[in-house]
Symmetry: C2
Subunit: 146 residues, 2 copies
C-alpha cells in the first residue's frame, strides 16, 4: 500500500515531536521539504534552551533559510505536527512559505483563532494530516505533567 507523500513527511515531523517528548518538551516537531528533499528537521526546545522563541517551526524556518541562502521559502513545504501559534504563523507569513501542512488543531492557542490573517495570501494550507497521532502525543504529554 502506497503511503501518501504528505503523510510520509508528517511522520517525519511526528518523529521529531517524539524527540521533544523524550526531552520533556511540549511534543511538537517540524520538517521543511524543498524539491523533494528534507532541508530542516527540528523539534520544540523551549525548556532546554530557556527560550520561548525556540518552537519547532521557528527553528525550521531559520534552518531552511540558512540552507537555501535566502529568507523566502516560497518553494518550500513546512510540515508541523500541531497547528502553529501566532508567533510561528507570523514567521511563516514573513517567510512567504509556499505550503503549510499541519496535523492536530490547537483550538486554544492556534493561529486560526488568534491571528487568522497572518499568513501570506499565497500560502496553501492543509490540515489534519496524521492529526490523531499528533494529538495523542500532546495529550499523553500533558497527562504526564499533571
Amino acid at each position: 500500500m502506497e503511503i501518501n507523500q504528505d503523510t510520509h513527511y508528517m511522520k517525519q515531523a511526528i518523529a521529531e515531536a517524539r524527540k521533544a517528548y523524550d526531552l520533556g518538551e511540549v511534543p511538537v516537531g517540524a520538517v521543511v521539504v524543498c524539491n523533494g528533499r528534507i532541508i530542516a528537521r527540528c523539534h520544540n526546545l523551549t525548556e532546554t534552551l530557556n527560550d520561548v522563541t525556540a518552537h519547532a517551526e521557528m527553528q525550521a524556518i531559520t534552518a531552511a533559510a540558512s540552507h537555501i541562502g535566502g529568507k523566502y521559502l516560497n518553494d518550500c513545504t513546512l510540515y508541523v505536527s500541531v497547528e502553529p501559534c501566532p508567533m510561528c504563523a507570523g514567521a511563516i507569513g514573513w517567510a512567504q512559505l509556499g505550503r503549510l501542512v499541519y496535523g492536530a488543531d490547537d483550538e486554544k492557542r492556534g493561529y486560526r483563532r488568534l491571528a487568522p490573517d497572518v499568513l501570506h495570501p499565497k500560502t496553501e494550507v492543509l490540515s489534519g494530516v496524521c492529526a490523531e497521532e499528533a494529538a495523542e502525543l500532546m495529550k499523553s504529554f500533558f497527562k504526564g505533567k499533571r
Copy 2:
C-alpha cells in the same frame, strides 16, 4: 529638565534602530530593562542574517531570557521603536512580559490589527513614546528604498 524614564529607554531603542538603518535593515530597535538595568540591546537583522525571525524584539527576548536564566520576563520592560508584528507579539505573549512600551504604530502589520489577543493578559502596554522620531526613521528608510 528631567527626562521621563520611558523616554530615556526609548531613546536607547531608537539608537538601536539607527544601527539597523545604517546596515540597510528596516530600522527597528529594542532594549529590555530589568530592575533599572538594560539587559538586552538589539536591532533588526533580517537581511544580514537572511532570517525573517531576526526582528529586534525576537533577539531581545532571547537575549534577555539568556541573561536572566529563565524564559519568563514578568519583571522586564521591553522598549521597541515600532509596534510589534504578530510574530513578535506572540513571543512577547509566551514570555509573559511584564510591560511593553512601543513608539510608532504600525497600522498595516502591527499586532493590534492582526493579533489583538496574543499578549499575556497581565502585560501592561504603553504606546506612542517618541513615536514621531521612530516613525520618521521608518519613513526615511522606505523613501530611500523607492
